[in-house]
Symmetry: C2
Subunit: 322 residues, 2 copies
């Protein structure tokens, strides 16, 4: 998940002067926003400040962020002709500003903190493209998947090819780990995931893993998909608060590291409860071959920054004790 | 799930003249809408036409349905004082029109088709009350749960007591099976479900089961909650398309019947795919101690009614062959 965000006053101050897309597209600003959480929180890694939708514009599907509504794709992609018009992006051309930001951030971090790059996974990106924004039922997305499987697979291919190149380019620019975000994949049945998504994600993750850096495979609501997601690839599997590590291990085996899985809404609750539930996550993680403490999903804007600071400090000191 | 709805022309015709709440609150209209799907589809049971939110108004929290937005609670319930002001409803007073509808429908069905009554479960009702409508993150709901557990449990108690009485009264009026809808429960971690919800749902389900009719316990996104939901009770567990029956049985054991689990969006796809996936559900259900074929969630308004008819006929004839 993005570490920076509207819960931080420093971020809100920058956003008062620049749109989200300006922050993403200006390497110096992306550097600044990437560094904000490192100054405020005891975190073990920096996460590139960017947005999973950035590749859509150079692909040929411009979008903007509308106040309170999230992303709006200007021309939702719903026909074969529209899909055929999308381009595979050469990241050095269409997303050069992200690669510049990666290089700037690496220089600034100076070897002290590792940098995680990331990209959105093709189902999640396709859902934005097709629905035109966020969705409740993903009806148009599934309708294309079920009704026009050829169009669907062409769309998934252009998204996957773009995403694979983008991730590899981030590593070449200096990213020391990668995360693939399939945020909305939990909408699918295991059958549909296997049939319509897995082969595409697998291609991306193979390319990402071939760079040699650790690759985190993230989703939400994935309790019944984890076994298939493991087949698709990744060196670390993300799980959310709905799924205990024991439940996850029953599906992915005991050889793979897990990331997660605190409910981010606990950050809106009392401090003592927050820390006791963080401790429960750490206890649950004992015996895993590897564990990255994380939230199950993103931090809400109304989250008190002091709670995020207290959580990071608590996990940090608990991990040092262990 | 409601069988009637905007996907049916007969329903849309009635809705052109009456609001959703008028249909619910007028027993003759509720009877008519309950009968519509029975005339159009080969279904094995009638489902009372009502809305899970109906008890909120006599509890002291009026609401309306705003076009395109779903339910809007006029005064969202967020403080202890507001929770204390809510009343346990005597269904014979506050919800007499639903019980009248049940009696009318039973008379009309004349023993030929069984009638299923239903109610919303307390977490799902609480989420509407607190958020003021539908929600993306359930942040205010969880904030009360985490931050004001006493207020939360008082709210759950008044909702549970109302719901238990309401379900029992439906059976007394003639309902021959019951369904408890915990539609949004899949937002919770197993820990939170056990701690903040299970005892309340258990009380309701004990009261419902004591009437002697079968009780269906429904939720969505419940792949990691099913074991706890079974502890809470019910004679049949609902599962959605995210969860295979095998996965469900691993949690609830092999002694309990399951309901589900076709993705309703398949009704927007090609007929052949729809029926082959319905067949896959029936195949997956072989060996269960009992199975009620159903969708994993509600039918969307844009669904072609012919597809619903074809699905019901297919399942009906497949079940007769089996």
């Amino acid at each position: 998940m993005r570490q920076a965000g509207r819960y931080m006053a420093e971020y809100r101050a920058l956003r008062a002067k620049h749109s989200l897309l300006e922050l993403c597209r200006t390497p110096e600003l992306s550097l600044e926003v990437t560094m904000q959480p490192l100054r405020a929180l005891e975190v073990d890694a920096a996460i590139l400040f960017a947005d999973i939708l950035l590749p859509l514009e150079p692909m040929g599907a411009p979008f903007s962020f509308e106040k309170g509504e999230g992303p709006v794709i200007h021309q939702p992609v719903r026909t074969r002709a529209q899909v055929d018009a999308l381009r595979v992006v050469d990241p050095h051309e269409g997303l050069g500003y992200v690669l510049d930001a990666v290089r700037l951030i690496r220089r600034e971090l100076d070897g002290k903190t590792p940098l995680i790059g990331f990209a959105g996974a093709p189902f999640t990106l396709a859902s934005y493209l097709i629905e035109g924004g966020r969705s409740q039922h993903y009806a148009l997305t599934k309708k294309m998947m079920y009704g026009e499987p050829e169009t669907w697979h062409v769309l998934m291919q252009v998204l996957s090819e773009t995403t694979a190149r983008y991730l590899v380019a981030q590593v070449e620019a200096g990213a020391q780990a990668l995360q693939l975000f399939d945020s909305w994949i939990g909408q699918l049945s295991p059958h549909d995931y296997a049939h319509y998504v897995l082969p595409h994600v697998q291609k991306i993750l193979r390319a990402a893993e071939a760079t040699g850096v650790p690759v985190i495979h993230f989703g939400t609501g994935t309790a019944t998909l984890l076994g298939l997601q493991k087949q698709a690839g990744g060196t670390v599997m993300g799980v959310d608060w709905r799924c205990s590590f024991a439940h996850a291990q029953a599906q992915v085996g005991d050889q793979i590291a897990l990331q997660g899985n605190l409910d981010p809404i606990l950050l809106l609750g009392p401090r003592a409860l927050l820390l006791s539930r963080a401790q429960a996550v750490l206890d649950d993680a004992r015996g895993l071959p590897g564990h990255i403490f994380n939230l199950g999903h993103g931090i809400l804007p109304e989250t008190p920054v002091e709670n995020v600071q207290a959580l990071a400090a608590f996990v940090h000191s608990a991990s040092e004790r262990a």
